[in-house]
Amino acid sequence: MAITQAMCSSFKGEVMQALHDFDVAANTFKLALYTSSATLDASTTVYSSSNEVPNSGSYTAGGGTLTNQGVTVSGTTGFTDFADLSFTSATITARGALIYNSTNGDRAVCVLDFGGDKTSTAGTFTIIFPTPDASNAIIRIA
């Protein structure tokens, strides 16, 4: 069991098949949280509820809906960003997350490794995405 941060390999092919659209209000992307018992890595192809954290507060099975911030090309890099995501009044212990396309067959996009268990107790669990630029954005293709 391990969660390894990665861009999912299947996603790389699916981008070339136009199966993911990150424009504002285009496809719906979601972020699901997982316990340390989950196995998630570059070979992950779709969302699975196996070892997902249980419902608590505003967190429900399938995770939270991300708000697309659109696609930008800067120099030779294309990137996209999402608004930060919070789960409130939640008791959660998560080791990582999966971003997936819920519009299009729950296809996996990327795996986020928290580096250790992150816990909220009757509190807020927030994922902060990085500065949206060519060097830092959450999803970049150079």
């Binding site: 919070s86 994922i127 999803i139 970049r140």
Partner: protein, 95 residues
């Protein structure tokens, strides 16, 4: 001929709380993640200047966020008092 590219997943952060929501300081830290990124590889004078600017901006955001919370609570207390719930208003005022 061939064309090659790399795909990357960026560095994100996770903030959690116990028995409360986020404080203005925590929210300001989150905002800063979106406003300015300072590369550790940047030349020192530029990096120091950027870090100083970041710290000033953080201080300003915290100050105004606290004012926003204070003003919102004032509005809430006024509405509660108007509807005869002075006790609840007092609890909120004491937070």
């Amino acid at each position: 001929m061939s064309a090659q590219g790399n795909s990357s997943v960026g560095r994100f952060m996770v903030y959690t709380t116990d028995n409360r929501g986020h404080t203005p300081e925590e929210l300001a830290n989150m905002a800063m993640e979106h406003i300015i990124a300072v590369s550790s590889a940047a030349p020192e004078p530029i990096r120091l200047q950027a870090e100083a600017y970041k710290a000033k901006l953080h201080e300003l955001i915290v100050r105004y966020m606290k004012k926003a919370v204070e003003q919102d609570r004032l509005t809430l207390c006024q509405q509660l008092e108007k509807s005869g719930q002075a006790d609840t208003a007092n609890i909120i005022r004491s937070l």
